[in-house]
Every structure is written in structure tokens, then in C-alpha cells.
Symmetry: C2
Subunit: 574 residues, 2 copies
Amino acid sequence: VPTRRQTLQVAAATMLSGLFRPSASRAATTAVRLPDRRTLDKALRAFAKVVGDDWVFSSAEDVALYRDSYSLLWGEPDEKVAAAAVAPTSTEQVLEVVRIANQYRIPIYPISTGKNLGYGGAGPVLSGSVVLDLKRLNRILEVNERNAYAVVEPGVSYFDLYNYIQERNLKLWIDCPGPGWGSLIGNALDRGLGYTLAQYRNHFEAHCGMEIVLPTGTLMRTGMGAMPNAQTWQQFKTGYGPWVDGLFSQSNFGVVTKMGFWLMPQPEAFGIGRVYVPRYRDLIPLVDIMNRLEASHILQGFSSLSCPIIGTSIGGGPSAMVPTQQDAEIMAIVNDPNGFSPERLDAIGVKKGLNFWSCDFNLYGPAKLIDTQWSCAQDAFAAIVGARFELEIQPLPLPKEKIDALQDTVSLGIPTLRTYSTGPLTDYDGAAVVGHVFFSPVVPRTGEAVMAANDVLGKLARSHGLPVTPIQFPNPAFERAFLFVIALPVTRDIKVNQKIRKIFAELVQVAAAHGWGEYRTTPAFYDEISATYSFNDHALRRFHETLKDAVDPNGIMSAGRYGIWPRHLRPGGE
Amino acid sequence: VPTRRQTLQVAAATMLSGLFRPSASRAATTAVRLPDRRTLDKALRAFAKVVGDDWVFSSAEDVALYRDSYSLLWGEPDEKVAAAAVAPTSTEQVLEVVRIANQYRIPIYPISTGKNLGYGGAGPVLSGSVVLDLKRLNRILEVNERNAYAVVEPGVSYFDLYNYIQERNLKLWIDCPGPGWGSLIGNALDRGLGYTLAQYRNHFEAHCGMEIVLPTGTLMRTGMGAMPNAQTWQQFKTGYGPWVDGLFSQSNFGVVTKMGFWLMPQPEAFGIGRVYVPRYRDLIPLVDIMNRLEASHILQGFSSLSCPIIGTSIGGGPSAMVPTQQDAEIMAIVNDPNGFSPERLDAIGVKKGLNFWSCDFNLYGPAKLIDTQWSCAQDAFAAIVGARFELEIQPLPLPKEKIDALQDTVSLGIPTLRTYSTGPLTDYDGAAVVGHVFFSPVVPRTGEAVMAANDVLGKLARSHGLPVTPIQFPNPAFERAFLFVIALPVTRDIKVNQKIRKIFAELVQVAAAHGWGEYRTTPAFYDEISATYSFNDHALRRFHETLKDAVDPNGIMSAGRYGIWPRHLRPGGE
């Protein structure tokens, strides 16, 4: 269990480059019926009785550590900042804290480790909320090698679980997101993504069973966990009756205090199979064949789609935008001020022996299986004239020197922070870049949709000077759709941040007009993106609100998260 | 669109052997605040204005067709029977019917095709409800071959979709449950199971996107469908914000009017790999290795676990209990009145060259991939001393003669009704058997758990004269747990049915004491099984009830389904 000092240091680490300034924002939020100072103080004293004085943070200096250092609202009156924080160490303490929050009507905002950077940090959505910091609930409750699962508390990070498995030499892998310091539960609840087999990449889908403190202060278990003495809580997801787990992702319906995750057995070997195709429009059959191979489970997840002809490296995830070798003649065509038609590159690419597209597949298993899977893939891709293939197989586990030499290790189930060394941008509009927010629309898994998204969203982003390559590669983490991520810079210059917010909002609107919706976002845009899911006069949001009011009658839990506000904070509310 | 006559004929077909008798049950339910006859008649007239006179069924003879012919309450005062039925033909009509039901407080009970036999038929849970028969909503709205999905209405059966695909020669497979006449939507919402690749077998998990008429008469779309003009409704499941789809399975929170399903591309070949192991306790490593191979996605779903030594055929699904060749000397040991210890068979089995266990894996893909997968599986299973292997590969599609000769075709994605030819029992306690109900607990995926379940549940069932083999094989449809199904007979003899209900209840209690919970059940046992999921004073059921009251304030929708009752029908309700 971390000490108080360590807890705050971890909080501080989220402020990668933020300089603390007293926030002007709290005043602005009193309009939305925050508890008065006296009531807050009473509640904080009650919290302290439960968790101990050391674990209630209310000094300006301590509370500042919970600011979202990647906030595009930094230093503005609208910046979303906490009034205080409380860090319980057990589920029982969480129950007590939630009950006290109800008693005093204190808005609370649970975080796991607060490392959801780019999609929100440790800061609340409603300024004046008390952050419920769960990083002291950091027990690994079970790792079962025979049935390949783990049960953890919210404070457990990918590094923690990885180390636990390594120390015991268990033959299990975890699937981690780009940076590995975040919480398994936090990432899964935000529906975050990883890099190994398709079935493990979607961290929410790879979960099995939850324990939840409901906003009314009741402890509930889902799935088979609802049966006392359950033997299959981590083996069978849906249990009996309505399956409620989805309600607790991207939402504010409860505090998840335990969660099971399915793990992947350690494979015998790792392979990267790569296919190159020469022409721009080859993307269409390339994606179609990929879809067929993956839906047949012959291949099980690809890792990137690249564009060698314009010299951009392997895409997917944070490194998508790193330029590598570029050919001057080709880049002149790409950067033609009169516009760029990708098909113009086909002839020159063939002449220079540069392929237009390449696509990497991660392959796991015995070497002979990887060989055969790749042979089947080649048979299928051979339908594209000029397709070329490469396969590289490494026996596992890799020796330490090899791991240390890798740019990124996430495809091998090894958590890392190396991804932070590949930032795309150091300054924007004269302001130093201190972080990023992700614009993440889901587009159809067809070549045509990738072309259209580049044409519409890529062009728009580039027109605002964002470092988006002329052809942006979709993130392949989902099984059946593409994620067309664009990273926007965050600075400490209010004017520049305001401009970036305008660009973000424009991207959201243009994408929605094309039927492309975001799968996840940062708090500054929760409401804006929620508004684009407007079918039948926002029927889904109204349904979410109906559930919210029923489950959290006092509206104390994570008000505003993913655009869901309790009744008393909604326009026209009580 | 079927005619009125055809609709009723389809309803009638669910009464496989039921003889209509006027039911005594409706009177018994008036205690639970059913609308009076005059109000009901007004509502029926209002329904008729929406759907036409021909599509409101209220004569005793018509309504009787909606009885559950597999009901263990048949002919008793507690039998759950409808007051009438209404069959709309469009989503707009469903919306109108639901609004009228609210206006007159008429309990309605949506069914898709009413073919959930063994887990409930077309009958409601609350007697006096009006069945909302959706089988005229039978449009196949889209089948997309490139992205391998279908969008259907609730009246579309597995046969319908199969025929649609065959007629157009699309290279797609469907995954069907035992009998293929049911509804894709109905089966998925009841969280039904199939027989092909692991990722398609779980019909609820293989869905993507819903359209729902909420109990208040509002139309809602989930996932990406909440965005107007959505391009990825059938490609990305969770959308933005809380994922609500799970709420509409095994529940009564809405009427699903459209649903997307992920389909499997037609494979090149089909293989059955079989492993035999000689001794009783070999089951433990057999299951462990199977788990590792499946969690690694080297194998992707096995089809059965059998017990050649006692002469029982391939298990899993409805044919699990069919005896084949049996050795007299061995059966004498098995049927020893002083009790049966399976380990006693090891030596004699080795002497006679009979293996204790065998396990079949379905393999799909190019023949060379099947070969390699099976070679990898052999490498792993070879750790069991005496393991033997067989592999049979068939190129696809199979010629018609071969298909016609098969006992069952579901592993090939071909819907069938042949499963009805394999009933385990013709009479019980002197009464003719007319159907069955399934007792379906989930047990851990370990050899020890299979042994324990046989020892506890199998023995208990046999002690009541049920035709359960001395070693019962778990159904392997789930990815990470076993389903230990026992079929109990249904008769038309009230005394015998009462006895069977007592046995069923005893099985439920004994299983719960071991931490084994049912994943699904028939209406007669909804409440009983719900009660076993009692963690923290039934916290999950109370949560379900909180949601139910919020979503369906008048309590008109499927009252009692999966043990969820609206407030006014709960003990201590208003």
C-alpha cells in the first residue's frame, strides 16, 4: 500500500509539464448548486473519520495535483478542477465515503489512477467535485493460470500486474494500452484498447465480472458474482437476467471496486507478417481481404496500416504519425499547393519500387502455426496484383537485450512508457505543446471509408496546421471497424487552446455529418460529442438520464461524465 | 409477409402435442391487478385500429395457440396463459401498441417467434398478459458480405436468413441453435447458443447494434445507431457513453425491433479433430490443455466431450444423452447398486482398448490451417500419456447428399429441426413425455468441476429416475466455462409435472449451494433461480428492479420475465 507521499507523487506525475496556478474556475461552478463551504468541510471531516486525516486532501497545493495536465481548458474559468480529494483503502471505506457524499450531497468523482491522458486525467467533470482517488485499492486479488484470468482492484496498474506475473513466472500475458502506468479497471471502464490478439485488445470486452459500489451506497456484484459462493464469476460474463456491466463503462452509475479480466496464455512465438501492395486503390481489396481473414479467425488482429510511398512508418496507436524516409519527388506531389490526388503517385511509386500501402499482422502461437496462418493470408492477398510479403518470427520469451532495443513492447504484452518519447509536435502556433487530446471517430472498415476520412478529416486537420500526414492510418484495435485517430496539441496558452477547441469541435461536426461518431473523448468535449448521438431527439441520452436519475437519485456520482448530468444539473432540471 | 392463417399455424406448431383445454388460470391472476374485461376490450379495439381486426386474437381457440406446450404448469391454475394476442407488422405499429398498452395499463408480452422451447414458448409470465407477437416483423433489412453482418427484424428465423443467403450465393455462414425455426433476435436476447466458431456461438455476444421500442413508447437505437446517418451501426458495438445493450437480454426493458449480427465468412474446409485419453483422471489435464489452446486461439471452440468407455455418444447440445454401444461388463460396474466409482473403470478400459474420454474440436478454414492447428493441439495433448488422435477434413461446401446424411448440420451453419428426432425419453412415471425443460447450471471449466457436477447433480437426477448417463458431458458453447445441462421431461399429467418441478427446484438449490448458477431457464422457474443470485441481500435483483421501475413506470412490459416484476406486482409493492 503506497504512503500518502507516494500517492500524491503519483498524482503529481500526471502533471507532466503543468505549472500550478490557483484556478479561477471554482466560483463559476457555484451556479450549479454546489454544497457551501461549511457543508463541504463537514463532509471532509466525515471522510477523514473513515479514511484517516492523512487521506483527505484539501490544501490548494495538494488538490492542484489532481488537475488534468492535458486539459484544453487549463487556467480558464471553465477549467474543471476538484475541491478536494479523498483516498480510501478498501471497498468498505468506499461504501462509507459514498454514503457520506449522499448525506451531504457532495459531488464525488472516482478515478482509478487518473492516467487517462489524452482522454481526461484525474480532474472531475464538474468543478467543485471531490475526487475519490482509488489508487490505494491496489490489490491483485487472484491470478488464475489454469483458467487464465485475473481479479484486481482499481488501483492496480498494468505494470503492477505484469510484475506480479513475472515474479511468479506464470505463463500468462496481459494486454496493455500505449502507456502502462494506468489502471486496468480505469482503462477498461473507459473502453480503452491494446495491441495483442483481437479478443484481448478491447479491454472492456475482455473483462468478466464486476463488483460495484452503487451511488446509493450499496455493494453489488454482476454476472455470476451475484451468487454467493460463485465458482464462475471470472469464467462466465453475463450471469442471469439483464446484463448490466455495460452501464458502468463510460458512465457515472457506480464505483467499480473489483473486476475480472481474461488473460492470454504466453505464446510460443511472435510473428509479424507484412503485406505490401503497390497502388492507391489496392487499399480497397486489401481491407476486404483483411476483413475476411479476421472474421474467419485465420488472422487475429492486425497491428498497423502504413504508407511506405510517402514515408510514414507503421501506424496504429501513438506512433502513427512518425515520419520516416521520404522521397523528395513524391513529397513534392503530395505537398502540391494545388491539391494532392493520391492516384497520381501510382506510376512514380511503381517506377521507384515504392509500395503505396503496407499492412502488419501480429501473429502469436507455435512457429508452425504462424507460418501456416501467414501462408493462408498470402493465398488470399495474392488476389491483389503485385502484392509482396514478409514474415519475421521470434521465439518467445525474447531475451532482455532484444526487449530493451524495441521501440515499443506492447505487442508483446509488456507495459511501457516509451510511447511518450514519440510525441508528434513540440509547438503549435508559437506555444509549447505540453500534451494532446485525441479526436477518435469510428469509420467503416472499408478502403473507401479510409480514403473518405483522409479526404475529409485529414484535409481539415491539415488545413489548420495539424501534423497529420497526407494519408492517415486508421487504428486497427477494433475487430470490425476502424478508429481514425487525430491527436490535437494541448498548450498552456489560453488563446491557442481556444483555437484548438474550435478545430476539435469542427472535426466533431464534420465527422457527424458523415455518420462517423467518436468512441471516447476528453471531458471538455463530453457534451459536444454526446449531442451528435441524437437519433430520435437524443433518445439514447434521455434513456441514460432516466437510468442515472434512478440509480443516483441525489446525483452525487461523476456528474457530467460522458455527457450524463443528474436531473438537478440538467437544463430545465429541478 | 405471412397471412393471418399462417401466423396462427406457426403459433400452433409450437404446441407439438398439446391438446387444448380451457384454462382455469386467468381467474387466479386477477389478484395481481389485471385490467378488467371492459378495459381490456377497449384496448383490444384500439390495437385493432392500429394493426387491423385480423391481427388481434382474442377467441379462446386463437389464444390457446400461444400456450407454452413445454410448460410444467400445463392445465394447472398457475399455468401462465395469455388473455389475447396482437401481431403488428411494423415498428411504427409496435410503438402504437406499446403506447396503447400504457394508456390502458395492459400487460403485454413480446415474443419473436415463440420458439424458445425448453426455456419457455409463446406464453407470457403473467397470466392475463396480451402477447405482442412479432413474427410479422420478418424483414431481412441488410446482409453485407464485405463486412460480414446481417440486420434483421424479430420475426426472421434462422431458416429465413439461411435461405436468403443461399439464394444470393453470399459467402457467409450463420450460427444456429439446435432447432433452426426460432428467431435470431429472440434467441440472442435469451442469450442462446450455437455450434460454430467460439466467437459466433454466443448469439448475444455476436450481435452489434439494436433498435428498441422502450416501454414508454419511445424508439431508441443503441451503439453507433444513436447517431443519425451512422455508418458503423453493425461494425462497432459499444458506441459512446454507457453501453446499454445487455439490459435488453433476459429481461423486460423494451421490445427489440432491429438487431445486427456478425456473421462468419464461409470457410474453405471443415475438420473434426478428436483426442482420446484413456483414464478417468485424464479429464483434468485434458480440460486444462483445452483451455490453454482455446484462450490462445489456436483452437477456436470444441464441439463435445464424450465418454466412449460407457458408450455414450458425442455430447454438447440436445444429443448429449443418446447412448450408443455399451460394454456389458463395464455397464455392470457403472450400474453397481452399491455405487459407482469411475476410477474402477480405468484398468478394464485399458484391457479392452476403450478410452475413458474423447473430445471433438470443430476446425474451420483452409485445409492446411486445419492440419496445422490440429498438429499444434496434438503437441499439447501429447502431455497426457496414452492420448490418441484422429482428424477428418471435408472440403466445403458439402454436396447435398452428404448434408442429408448428417445427424445434425448445425456445426456447418445449416439450420435444421433434426434435433427433435433425438428425444431422450418417451415416458416418465407412467406419463407420456411431450417435451422437456432444461436445467442449465454453469460450472467451472476444469476437470474437477465436471467430476463434481456429475457426482452431485448427475447422481441427484439419476436418483429420481431421470435419464442422465453416469457421466454427463458439459455443453462446450461458452468460451471459458462449462454448461452442465440436464433435460427434465414435461408431461400432461399434473401429478407427474408437480414431481418434476420439485426435482427441478431441488437441483437448483443443490447447485446454488455449490456456487453453480443457471444461465437461463423456463418461466416456471424465473423467480426461483433469480432468488439464488442473492449476494448482499439480492443487490443485483434490486438494481434490476430500480431500472425496471424507471424504464417502465407503468409496469406494462413482460412482467415477471427473468424474475423482474414491476413495482405494483412485487411483494410489498404499491
